[in-house]
Symmetry: C2
């Protein structure tokens, strides 16, 4: 059985979960308290991070390397466009969300409000939360600008770029840190992603100490 070591609100784990679910690859989810640095876990992944995927006799780390591998081994349905230019744009946007959005928004809101509490690192730093709340607006506007020209973020087909973006935004939505009224275009895009069968496991996530808000799993949010 394939096994994914993860934490529920990690956007990097969510991207891998969405990728596997879209391709109908079954996987057992195992929550991993990676910050406790269990020696067994560190043996599986010396980088000490989640996600870690056990599949086909391999133990894999690094979410993008995992998704590229899954795409190559299980190409249907494709999560990358057919052209090098389309694949470039998909990978650029995955990096945009996993690097820039992550640094400017996710780490400043989700990590301050949730990860710090769970890992016993104390209270949120209000200057970080303020900076994250400001930056998320810029990113929503950038997404709206892209989606005004394209059906999906990287072009006219749904790609891993949409899953990367939805992974970060859904994790922030769990703590009600996304203002869906800012852009009708972005809200419509999220409604389309959210209603996919691949998203069901994400909408069922529960984090102890952080009750799921009512709108989170509501398809008509």
């Amino acid at each position: 059985m394939n096994r994914l070591f993860h934490v529920p609100l990690s956007p990097f784990c969510r991207k891998v979960r969405l990728c596997l679910a879209e391709k109908k690859i079954e996987v057992e989810l195992v929550e991993e308290r990676y910050w406790e640095r269990d020696p067994d876990f560190l043996r599986r992944n010396p980088a000490g991070k989640v996600p870690v995927l056990r599949m086909n006799g391999m133990t894999m780390a690094e979410s993008m390397a995992i998704c590229e591998y899954v795409e190559e081994k299980y190409p249907e349905p494709p999560l990358f466009p057919a052209t090098p230019e389309g694949r470039y744009e998909t990978r650029r946007l995955v990096s945009w969300f996993d690097d820039k959005f992550h640094n400017e928004v996710t780490s400043k809101l989700l990590y301050e409000r949730v990860n710090k509490k769970i890992t016993g690192q104390g209270y949120p730093e209000s200057s970080n939360v303020k900076a994250g709340a400001k930056a998320v607006k810029f990113h929503l506007d950038y997404m709206a600008w892209l989606l005004d020209q394209r059906r999906w973020l990287a072009g006219d087909q749904m790609t891993l770029a949409d899953f990367a973006a939805a992974s970060h935004l859904s994790a922030l939505d769990y703590i009600s840190d996304v203002d869906w009224n800012r852009s009708e275009t972005v809200k419509d895009w999220y409604a389309k992603i959210k209603s996919r069968p691949a998203f069901r496991s994400i909408l069922a996530d529960q984090v102890p100490g952080f009750p799921q808000p009512a709108h989170y799993a509501d398809l008509d949010f």
Copy 2:
């Protein structure tokens, strides 16, 4: 003419330069003071970072997305192995260096000692420099462990993983922050990479205010 906007010691720019040079793709290098946030540059890349590559009528950002595109368009000589498993390992290691090594070492040594001065952000934080100097040892040992089992970092062929590692280490070597005596295996690996024609432009780099040390461009270091 292809044009790469870069800064000389950026490991992300160096990875793209090595990738292009290995494939004998000519490119004009243009130094970009990205931290001054020139509006022309921000139009080319809203992420405001280098490298930015102009090629085939496209303006591309994000070093890994660029390298994957270059590999797809110009497959010879290959910088990724032929199997999905080999490509996974290559991508995992590129992420290892561009994410973990970058956070633990490059940002703590190179950015503290060089980038802060160039961008007018003051003096190095000694706790960061100390942490970086400690972490680089762990990473050199990890590389030695890999290279004891393999000819190159990701397997028996040279890949983008070797270029990613060499990009970070060569930038640190410019400020003499790599102890090549720590591992004969790693030193031999670096000597092999360093003597490739693709490396020549990197060894010719000069940064105002930071004179190149004698061993930096010496193939017999």
